[in-house]
């Protein structure tokens, strides 16, 4: 045929208000996944200060923990990790063929539970830095 028009992928994200639960779950799981793998590399790098001796390790970690911004980032990390775990469990059930009829409700449940756990943990996470 002569030419056809390829609308590209850009049109997709303009429609975000129309996304379904399953699509949000996929997007969030991917996003949190990237954050976590990025964090893994960073975390091991920080922990590698152990190889430079106890004092370097201790002072690095405690120095980081003293910064309020780091505490907030840790709360964010908690949110990301908890969502990835809860939605991951949902996906494991889907893979086993269990509960597919309520897959959208289980996504909303993961979101709610993530929120609840994060809010409940804020005091512990911020303790000593505020």
């Amino acid at each position: 045929m002569s030419q056809s028009y390829d609308r590209g992928l850009i049109e997709d994200f303009g429609r975000w208000t129309e996304f379904s639960a399953g699509m949000w779950a996929w997007i969030f799981h991917k996003f949190t996944g990237w954050v976590l793998i990025g964090y893994l590399f960073t975390h091991i790098a920080v922990l590698s200060t152990a190889m430079s001796g106890p004092e370097v390790y201790t002072s690095t970690l405690q120095g980081l923990e003293a910064l309020l911004i780091v505490r907030f980032l840790e709360v964010g990390l908690l949110a990301v990790a908890v969502f990835h775990i809860l939605n991951g469990v949902r996906l494991l059930f889907v893979d086993l063929g269990v509960g597919l009829e309520s897959q959208d409700r289980s996504f909303y449940a993961s979101l709610v539970l993530t929120g609840a756990i994060v809010i409940a943990s804020i005091p512990t996470f911020l303790a000593g830095a505020i």
């Binding site: 990237w34 106890p54 201790t58 494991l92 893979d95 303790a127 000593g128």
Partner: protein, 123 residues
């Protein structure tokens, strides 16, 4: 059209491993968070405290397994996300090898750091 056989993709092994490692990580990551934020506080971490935990053989083994499993799960996840997005050809091969190398380096570093944390000095 369906691809012909690729010897590197043995029939969904990575898919299965991603699920198996996921099940393991759900438990261990939750445990890790509990240990380092609730039982002990991250702000109170010292080398001595770390060493005390890492010198317990069960804890040490769990942490190393945790690190290596997470490395596989994460790097495999990244690879799959990119394949879903449509990388192919030389780009795909390049990315695959970069990821494999990165994963190996990370794995090795995890073992080294864990060993040092347990009080065994590596020159």
């Amino acid at each position: 059209m369906a691809e012909r056989y690729s010897s590197f993709e043995p029939k969904g092994t990575r898919w299965l491993l991603q699920r198996l490692t996921a099940a393991f990580l759900v438990v261990v990551l939750a445990f890790h968070f509990m240990t380092l934020h609730f039982v002990n506080h991250a702000a109170d971490v010292t080398f001595a405290g770390t060493q005390m935990r890492m010198q317990q053989p069960g804890y040490f083994v769990t942490m190393v397994a945790f690190g290596l499993t997470a490395t596989f799960h994460g790097v495999n996840g990244v690879y799959n996300a990119l394949v879903n997005q449509g990388i192919e050809g030389t780009g795909k091969t390049a990315v695959k090898w970069v990821l494999i190398v990165a994963a190996l380096l990370l794995g090795v570093q995890i073992i080294r750091v864990a060993t040092v944390m347990a009080g065994v000095s590596i020159a």
